[in-house]
């Protein structure tokens, strides 16, 4: 469903993403791991068509993102980092706006809004202004937006960031449930999350894919490692590494 080939992104002289390729099939949940600044968000922004890759190709459900962006984006749901929202709207009107842009009108639109309000436990804040919501609710509102048209491909940039443990558990459960009939990519810093929700994980460091496999097979990469945490630390270089060397 998601095909990413030889993706490269260069900002000025800095190579942010360096030749990344992977694919995600229907029914797969791919965890995207990596230290801060490794190129996770940049890669996701290219997959969603927000950034134009310097070179390489992205296709969703067989539709090339660079050639037919509108058709490809129709198949896609995206939760950007920090869950941006229009602060002057209510939850329901925001979701209505997103539904309209997704081509849902009239009764379909109302049904879609009701469905995601219910799914994301937002019924109680339906007519509340987005401005007055707490972080958890804001996050869920933006998440609701990404699944309003029941997309085949779902891309979530740190979907559990800033949530409390109960909400984290709930979102993980939701991702796992939806993963049965969608292709999902989500990025995270929390490694237990990968074991809890992902069928596969990619570790990316300094713009390159350094490991790709099931959580189980990743553990075997480093002999003697008992948890993903240890694997992660031994195959990615910390930001401070070059300072120690110098």
């Amino acid at each position: 469903m998601i095909q990413v080939k030889n993706l490269i992104k260069v900002f000025g002289t800095k190579v942010a993403v360096d030749d990344v390729s992977f694919s995600v099939e229907k029914g797969e949940v791919l965890g995207f791991l990596g230290p801060n600044g490794a190129g996770k968000s940049t890669t996701m922004r290219m997959v969603t068509g927000y950034f134009r890759p310097t070179s390489g190709s992205v296709s969703l459900c067989g539709i090339n993102m660079l050639e037919e962006p509108e058709q490809a984006k129709q198949r896609l749901g995206y939760l950007p980092e920090n869950a941006p929202l229009y602060s002057d709207m209510t939850v329901a009107s925001f979701l209505g706006f997103c539904a309209e842009l997704r081509g849902l009108h009239g009764a379909d639109r109302t049904r879609a809004i009701d469905r995601v309000l219910d799914l994301c436990f937002l019924d109680s804040v339906r007519n509340q202004s987005v401005d007055t919501l707490s972080k958890g609710y804001r996050h869920r509102t933006c998440f609701a937006q990404s699944i309003i048209h029941d997309p085949d491909v779902l891309i979530l940039d740190e979907p559990t960031d800033g949530l409390d443990p109960n909400q984290k558990h709930e979102v993980r459960g939701m991702i796992k449930r939806m993963g049965q009939n969608k292709a999902i990519i989500f990025s995270t810093h929390i490694l237990e999350e990968v074991e809890a929700a992902c069928s596969r994980a990619i570790i990316i460091d300094r713009g390159k894919v350094v490991a790709d496999g099931t959580p189980e097979s990743l553990k075997k990469l480093v002999p003697g490692a008992k948890s993903l945490d240890e694997v992660f630390r031994s195959i990615t270089k910390p930001d401070t590494a070059h300072k120690h060397a110098a």
Partner: protein, 252 residues
């Protein structure tokens, strides 16, 4: 224009237009616009003391200067706000083409001015009560005034696509609006021509032809010249194209 284009533009337009009503910006700007547009003819142009009921010299003459300050205030939120909130990432990963979004937003801001300008109707009423004005120049004056406002808005839209700060966008847009109004001023042109070498005079005059002012006053005289309407429309189209390029450059 496909059905999809219209639906998407309409959805963006609706959101943007309602956003104006949900914030104090619209009310503040319309009220200030009305105070200025209706007050200046009476207090500075002394419209009641004159024997003349045409609006060109006393009412429309103030509009370019009012728009110079107020049009950027309406337009500055168009894209700067999207950049600041990060919602631009949401908007541009929806199945919406940049043009649908640009036009939807531009039409929404245009409608704000339509409201403001429509609410100046009492002045037309006043001059009709006091005498028998020629309606032709009044109509063309309104068209000229609206086109001027739209040109300032489109200019602001382009600048707001570049910056995430509304304050920067406002100040830069006002500066641009002042410059583009002043380069056509006969006094300014004359001063520059007299201080530059002869070979540059033609160039100065050529540049001064790009000013909004000449075209604006031609239109308010009541001669509906297609050339001047075309000038404003081309300014709007060019600045909206710049908006599109700026948005593309912004997300590299």
């Amino acid at each position: 224009m496909s059905n999809r284009d219209i639906q998407n533009t309409k959805a963006v337009f609706k959101r943007e237009f309602l956003a104006y009503f949900n914030s104090p910006v619209l009310y503040v700007i319309v009220v200030i616009f009305l105070l200025a547009a209706m007050g200046f003819p009476f207090f500075f142009s002394r419209i009641l003391d004159s024997e003349d009921v045409s609006l060109t010299e006393r009412f429309f003459v103030w509009h370019p200067w009012i728009y110079t300050v107020l049009a950027p205030a309406v337009g500055m939120r168009l894209w700067s706000e999207e950049h600041r909130l990060g919602t631009i990432e949401l908007l541009l990963t929806m199945p919406v083409s940049p043009w649908q979004a640009i036009l939807g937003k531009f039409f929404a801001a245009s409608c704000v001015w339509l409201i403001g300008l429509t609410l100046t109707f009492p002045i037309v009423w006043t001059v009709c009560y006091l005498g028998y004005p020629d309606m032709g120049p009044i109509m063309s004056g309104y068209i000229a005034s609206y086109l001027y406002a739209l040109a300032c808005l489109a200019l602001t839209s382009a600048i707001s696509a570049i910056t995430r700060s509304q304050v920067v966008c406002f100040i830069v847009s006002v500066a641009f609006c002042i410059v583009i109004a002043l380069i056509g001023d006969p006094g300014v042109t004359h001063t520059i021509v007299s201080t530059t070498p002869d070979w540059a005079a033609g160039f100065v005059r050529f540049v001064s032809y790009f000013s909004f002012m000449d075209h604006f006053f031609e239109l308010t005289k009541g001669i509906f010249v297609f050339r001047d309407v075309f000038y404003f429309l081309s300014v709007i189209i060019v600045t909206l194209i710049i908006t599109n390029l700026a948005l593309r450059a912004k997300r590299a």
